[in-house]
Symmetry: D2
Subunit: 249 residues, 4 copies
Amino acid sequence: MERVVLLDKAGRKWLAPIDGETVSVRGLGVLKAETLRASLGGVLTIGGQSFFVLRASAKDFADTLERRAQIITPKDAALLLFYADVKPGDTVVEGGSGSGALTIALARAVGEKGRVISYDLREDFLTVAQENVRRAGFADRVEFRLGDVREEMDGPADAVVLDILDPWKAVPAAHHALKPSGHFASYSPNMEQVKETVLALRKARFIEVRTVELIEREMEVREQGVRPAFAALGHTGYLTFARKVLLTA
Amino acid sequence: MERVVLLDKAGRKWLAPIDGETVSVRGLGVLKAETLRASLGGVLTIGGQSFFVLRASAKDFADTLERRAQIITPKDAALLLFYADVKPGDTVVEGGSGSGALTIALARAVGEKGRVISYDLREDFLTVAQENVRRAGFADRVEFRLGDVREEMDGPADAVVLDILDPWKAVPAAHHALKPSGHFASYSPNMEQVKETVLALRKARFIEVRTVELIEREMEVREQGVRPAFAALGHTGYLTFARKVLLTA
Amino acid sequence: MERVVLLDKAGRKWLAPIDGETVSVRGLGVLKAETLRASLGGVLTIGGQSFFVLRASAKDFADTLERRAQIITPKDAALLLFYADVKPGDTVVEGGSGSGALTIALARAVGEKGRVISYDLREDFLTVAQENVRRAGFADRVEFRLGDVREEMDGPADAVVLDILDPWKAVPAAHHALKPSGHFASYSPNMEQVKETVLALRKARFIEVRTVELIEREMEVREQGVRPAFAALGHTGYLTFARKVLLTA
Amino acid sequence: MERVVLLDKAGRKWLAPIDGETVSVRGLGVLKAETLRASLGGVLTIGGQSFFVLRASAKDFADTLERRAQIITPKDAALLLFYADVKPGDTVVEGGSGSGALTIALARAVGEKGRVISYDLREDFLTVAQENVRRAGFADRVEFRLGDVREEMDGPADAVVLDILDPWKAVPAAHHALKPSGHFASYSPNMEQVKETVLALRKARFIEVRTVELIEREMEVREQGVRPAFAALGHTGYLTFARKVLLTA
């Protein structure tokens, strides 16, 4: 399940498994896994070009993803994991799978004993997500399902994480699937989506309902001056969180 | 090691262990752990007052901390964990311990098989941090040490996480302690600290050196209108990340 | 029409006219205007206390306002004046008057030959605004009217500036009042107001329709470190701009 | 001195004077000023293409500028004018001229009776700025000078506005040139520049010393959803303001 990334001078990255004997890396040919293992954390020369061989990080997985749909940014993934309290051993329901970027982040966080159940309405998305998860080495912790989370989700789940167009329609199914004290999280670009979802969560008696937006500013540091970058990442999405409780004493 | 929080109507929280027989909660008296376990995710009435009994989340631990020094905010802790790629099984070195807020977040993320070594120069901080970590139930994964991370850190570490006044002075020791491909992370409020640290990281040939600031905007959602909150969190700190590599092929 | 502010060590300000013979300043007693004029830009001691005597600036007027309603912040006023292109000689229609903060900023910008027509539905607001404008010395350029800008505005105007609950309902009247090539500007806290207003402007065939939000970050500069302030101003409002054109060649 | 902009469907703009008899517009040929005047605020067809004919606004001047150096953004120009309290009749010293973008904004704000004295070290910048100011129709209110504002500025000035690499070196000359109660304003991209400038201002006993950064977020409004734009403007610069006072009673 071990993965490395090869990083070139231009900042490009290639993901590669190193637990077999040989590794086929698109554009770089077939390499010996042994060679990659021996170079871990150092420099490897392939065809006259230098590459850093790095243990694949959460961000590396996102950076090397085969993308179909728009993927969630690392800053938003980081906050989702933290505020939805995803931790080793958890069962997490995800809807929809998208390109599998968040699925991989969730799979890493739940660890070997955890489980991610990922739903999508579209088979083509599921195929891409499944392939990305397999390449990342987490196929054994993730179960993909063709299905509509607005209708039904499997449970009992420690957390439900949604990235769908109409998350408010999935609030009752999320409530049903969550364990008491479980965490709801949803990612939406538009304010109208946020409003509908928050109102639905309050109606379903979720507590600690909260919506935030994260703005990440990159800093440029040079000997002659420090300042925020002239180029900026704009809006990505709003993150809504809530917690299920049972209301009868 | 199981912990719950009791949450009252006013949003106040009390942390309580539920793996023993009885629990003493400051201001609420002595409760039966059995009763808390039975109420998990639901409502419990204590002395005529209603409380939600929730499985303690990463944010709950931060919210119920005994504070001595300023603590890192959840948004910054979330990004630190993600970009420093802290994951189950890791060994992480922290300097300094502060009030133990970040220590707890790290301890959760490294899981049962992971380890956190936390240094501080001040014994009074270590005492507070140690007590907070014990109350959170992570004493067995965290080792506290009185010491100066600018001089020396134990290793080999998957990640080094610093929240000290002069992190640039700890860059050589961090390089020494880190495994190849390991992650450096540092939190500082001022731009001068960022500058010195980034220049020291570049000099030590770290790669993927990057500094970001996170601005979290809370949204207010009401039937009659949605908008960002009038009250805002200002600057907390800059987060600097880097990765150690070996430069000989 | 000349005004000064008296500024004490604690940052408090008092507005005072200096074109008469004597000046009565609330809490400071009666002063000779001559003395104030002679101290302009310097220090004056009144009753044992030191005050800077400063020529009143746009921001000083806002800082010394008798407030009834929430007033527009200087950053938003600055952008409104610039993007609505308010300049010497202009006729500007304002709705509603509020506490007169924006009225004063508009009156300054249109100069001696310009004119501001300010409407409000509430007589109590008009009274406060009128008194604030008089104290600021701009009574001769501002005409206050009790009226509903959603029904009718006088014209022809170079700019229409709205700070009302339902600006979209005033779009037809604004179109009617504006000169061809004239500027529409509106200030609203909620995104629903922005949406209705933008859709109404597009329907009325306004061009260059644009909405922005300004976030002002204060920097703290000390010898030992520079950083954005820990305390921050949150959301104030969205600013929507547009331009009227005639569509027949 | 009247100017219009021609605006095409793609959002491109051409600046044109309309106080003569004919107008030569680059790429559009020679037009009758009379025709432009008659079309003001409406649509004009030139060579089969439609153009809106609009009275040139402050933003139009910035949008149609011949650029040599990086120019100040409208949001920053707006705040500079407001916080430096530039108003009809003022004398303002600018250093350096750059491409003349801020010079034009200043010239508009000081009105017919005001005056702008603009310094630059480089003759090529002065030439471009002078041409831009002439095209904008403000040649009679602006005086360009080849010179070093760190050495000397003419006065007495109501405001001094700096956009140079080392504004802290110009603080003594600015203090000398300013009237008591006059306004200092400076624009710098880097934190180090801000720090030096603020420390120099405090040393020179300026009061109300304050540095801000403005972040402008554009909103995207569509029937199906409202949100901040995915594309964002990053950092432009920090704005530092201060006020000169005389310290002897």
